[in-house]
């Protein structure tokens, strides 16, 4: 199970956090501090796994951003490494060649997308196309609500088909 997802910039700034196990704010800050210390200092040619407090953290760097996921010791590391990449590809498709700034200003979008990818710390959808379709449908819903146009259910039906 994925216990949490962290997006941290090379300077240690937090870009996104999602916690699937209960952590208090104090613990969250501690985890982030500890892990940025461990991960940001690792050299480029090392493996993508870090052992930490009896768990494993799988991370991958994309440009200036580190994507980290914390898993149980016996979970499959490579599988999670590719969940990260899968997420990045979906973000890329959504934003059109995503960059750190996109995620900074649209962190809420990053959350929506993550919620279509993971629930309860497990992968729920492995098709990029499906995720893209669902996110587009949500966006459409919000747009429609804004315009106060025709009935909501109609649109969902159309958009998610």
């Amino acid at each position: 199970m994925i216990h949490f997802v962290l997006l941290i910039s090379r300077q240690g700034k937090v870009r996104l956090t999602k916690w699937y196990s209960p952590y208090s704010q104090k613990e969250r800050n501690k985890v982030i501090r500890e892990l940025s210390g461990v991960i940001l200092t690792r050299g480029p040619k090392l493996c993508n796994f870090v052992e930490w407090r009896g768990y494993k953290v799988v991370y991958k760097r994309y440009a200036s951003l580190y994507f980290c996921m914390c898993i149980d010791q016996d979970d499959n590391e490579l599988e999670v490494l590719e969940i990260i990449h899968h997420y990045v590809e979906i973000l890329d498709r959504y934003f059109g060649s995503v960059c750190e700034l996109d995620l900074i200003f649209n962190f809420h979008k990053a959350y929506y997308i993550l919620d279509e990818l993971l629930i309860a710390g497990e992968l729920q959808e492995s098709s990029k196309k499906t995720v893209a379709r669902l996110i587009a449908a949500q966006d459409a819903l919000v747009e429609t609500a804004k315009e106060q146009a025709s009935s909501i259910s109609n649109i969902i039906a159309q958009a998610t088909k």
């Binding site: 199970m1 937090v14 956090t17 916690w19 196990s21 209960p22 952590y23 208090s24 704010q25 969250r28 800050n29 982030i32 050299g43 090392l46 493996c47 993508n48 796994f49 052992e51 407090r53 009896g54 768990y55 149980d72 010791q73 016996d74 499959n76 590391e77 490579l78 490494l81 590719e82 990449h85 934003f95 700034l101 996109d102 900074i104 200003f105 649209n106 962190f107 809420h108 959350y111 929506y112 919620d115 629930i119 309860a120 497990e122 992968l123 729920q124 959808e125 492995s126 098709s127 990029k128 196309k129 499906t130 949500q138 819903l141 919000v142 609500a145 909501i152 259910s153 969902i156 998610t160």
Partner: protein, 1057 residues
Amino acid sequence: MALSGMRGLSVFISDVRNCQNKEQERLRVDKELGNVRTRFKNEKGLTPYEKKKYVWKMLYIYMLGYDVDFGHMEAVSLISAPKYPEKQVGYIVTSCLLNENHDFLRLAINTVRNDIIGRNETFQCLALTMVGNIGGREFAESLAPDVQKLIISSSCRPLVRKKAALCLLRLYRKNPDVVNVDGWADRMAQLLDERDLGVLTSSMSLLVALVANNHEAYWSCLPKCVKTLERLARNQDIPQEYTYYGIPSPWLQVKTMRALQYFPTIEDPNTRRSLFEVLQRILMGTDVVKNVNKNNASHAVLFEALALVNMLLCLVGIGTGLSPQTVMHLDAEKEMMSQCVALLGKFIAVREPNIRYLGLENMTRMLMVTDVQDIIKRHQAQIITSLKDPDISIRRRALDLLYGMCDVSNAKDIVEEILQYLSTAEFAMREELSLKAAILAEKFAPDLSWYVDVILQLIDKAGDFVSDDIWFRVVQFVTNNEDLQPYAAVKAKEYLDKPAIHETMVKFQNGLPPFSFNIPAMFKVSAYILGEFGHLLSRRPGCSPKELFSIIHDKLPTVSTSTIPILLSTYAKILMHSQPPDPELQNQIWAIFSKYESCIDVEIQQRAAEYFALSRKGAALMDILAEMPKFPERQSSLIKKAEDTEVDTAEQSAIKLRAQQQVSNALVVTDQRPANGTPLVGQLSLVKVPSMNNNTDVNSADRGLSPENGALTTVDPQPPSADADLLGDLLGPLAIEGPPTSAVQSQHNIVSGLESDGVVEAAAIVPVDEPQNSVQPIGNTAERFNALCLKDSGVLYENPHIQIGIKAEWRLHHGRLVLFLGNKNTTPLVSVQAIILPPAHLKMELSLVPEIIPPRAQVQCPLEVVNLHPSRDVAVLDFSYKFGNNAVNVKLRLPAVLSKFLQPISVSVEEFFPQWRLLSGPPLKLQEVVRGVKPLPLMEVANLLNSFRLNVCPGLDPNPNNLVASTTFSSESTQALLCLIRIETDPADRTQLRMTIASGDPTLTFELKEFIKEQLVSIPTAPRPQPPQVPPAPPVAQPTSSAAALSDPGALLAGLL
């Protein structure tokens, strides 16, 4: 720049980004929080848009790590908004802002439930996502049935059902009772037929959690998992959008194989064959490719396949009843195992670090399969190279693997390699390294002096990364091995003589940091050993008490406060050993004692005062400071420490489940069974110091914890903590050294008749009216009995009031046992009664047991035993007493077992074979195939037999896999009778063997056969927390596993010799 679509939010984010430093950022954030707070105060004026904007700002601030202690209500209230945009924000912000224990979440349960059961699909999705991410127990209890309905509903679209499946997974993790196994297992099997891969992926994750808890209920899912795997890996029957870099959903493949690992065995031969075919395809068909992602994905599948093969085959090792057809495939499967190891051997040498890491990790897991260790050992050199890898993650894996693969044959190489690495290793790894090296050295030491060398080097090199347990353990080890004591003393002296120590000392005296902290541990252990065993060196030059004293005392000014108490004890011991007394030395040491009598540190002060007073007692000193008794054998606290690093994982991993299974199967009947660290305190040899743990007992009675060092508990009011066990170990070395409070104070009592404050105080906190029958035994009584079956003295039973020790002597069919009943308290035990319930074959006479055992006194009660005829039955001691208002009664098995009447005898070839032929066939010669045997190496089986006084005669049997043993049995009816034993083992399957027993008496043959069998098959240990007053079940307590040991008629016919 893509903006958030909410201008206020974007402005705020860029403001925060533009802050030059943390302080500015904090100011900006505080300003914003103030702003949001005022806006929320008059909520009526807020438009939905503004509300959304503010809760997003709150979330952003919270994400940055600031505390946000208001506005949760606003976020939660958005959940009940009628329109999608608000609801969406409400759900997502709530699920990020609150965690499962938050009170506000409870307020939302109703709204959430309405959304889940409502008709609006998008609302359902939002609600399921939030519950799946942060739902707690309460959600589990109120929502699980609705969520289950959605998963199997035919009217719901896949997007709802897949979310519902994962949502249920979350709820199940929070409370497994919410999924009713009966109805759900079939539904689960149906779910695995699902065509939509999103739903199938989610359902598979759910299944993993379910089978991890209870695989039996979900047997029907097993063939479906295999089918799914075939569909993906072999047929590649999958929509294009679900392939990932050309690989059919690697995630689903991994999940499916993970679920399969929880089923202990696959009996259906067809299913098993199909599965192995797919696995073979994955193992052989995975190539290294250029594309990183494709490579990762295919190797994710490959490593999961390796894990699955490992699970399937490690069971073959254990031998859980497989059908004959299955066994036929075993050869092919074993072949696959070697393929796996070969593959891993390749992986650990590749350039790609991820693969190297995983290769090492999986090789460690592979160690669980018997027969594989030898193949893995071939890669030892490569693994040692990995210990020097630039990547700490890889080094950790290498260390773990080396630790796991270490045995007697390679311990020296591996431990020395670790030691060498220790000096260059980074701090983050040193503690782990030193702990592991210490454990390996202890477990596999080829000779004892090597062990001492290694540990001393270790303490020297690892410095302050050596935990105290390590040096405690050395002390224990040295104390328990007399041969080792002079050597250890020499080594300790050498270390103290070393100029290196002097140098650091000099630096320290000049006030120059750093004071190297390896000195304290090194110093403590050296000083302790010299105090205890230094007198063994007295004939050597430079080792007179006086010289030893000055070597140690030279360093006293430089040591830390925690070391001084140990030095004081050492001085007291040196003083005691200087015979005839040397007045000069005596005056010197007295001067030191009196100097420290006014020390501000209580521990030091107390020791100094007491040693000073004691050392004037003359002869009494000899008794009180006598050499430490041996420590009872128990699981090394180091090993325990190494095992104690459990963390909270979502599902118990299959590998751990299996490992536990193996441990319980492999329980070895030797002294070193895990005693869970509850130390046996009193020693039989300590009759003279009955009070050594007087106030300790009060503590342990109070807390139900293992007794701690008396001195520490009085001096230092630490709450009981995980340290209790550490102290438990400490207790040993310091029982005399450490708690002079207790030992010495009571001595005061005896010697001078003074009232001792400590004791009175201690007595004052005895729980006065304990409820009846609340006395818990200390230590595992069943394990103690088992240990006593192998040796002749030790503790039979202990609770906070009393300790019952036993010492036995056996000659032919006679035995003389002495029961030592020691009252551990400051009040007498009254109405003491001991009744022996002998089985028919034993005549037992217990001498009179006094009705009262005075405070802290020990009573010895001899017990005469005569063995009338062969039998495995066990005698029981029915023991009762009263302590205060507490009437306590325990029934204890006495270790007067069959083996005690055996006398090992060695026979030559010429003597053996005529006898063996003479005793032909039943009932004098019995043969039986025993299954379900603990899988032990042949050596250990031999040791086991020897420990039961069955003398293994090597070389009698030409087949190296067989053991032949001989012994004589004595009873009144049979007199001394020769017994011959032959055990034939199967190197391919250690869990079964055939044994043949012959003797001149049919009853003896039968009883001896059953007795040996009981020792060989797994003995389930009694549950650890024994319910009070439920003694080990009398006579028939030893489980006979008749089912596991059905005799094999075919084997009976084939009398080999």
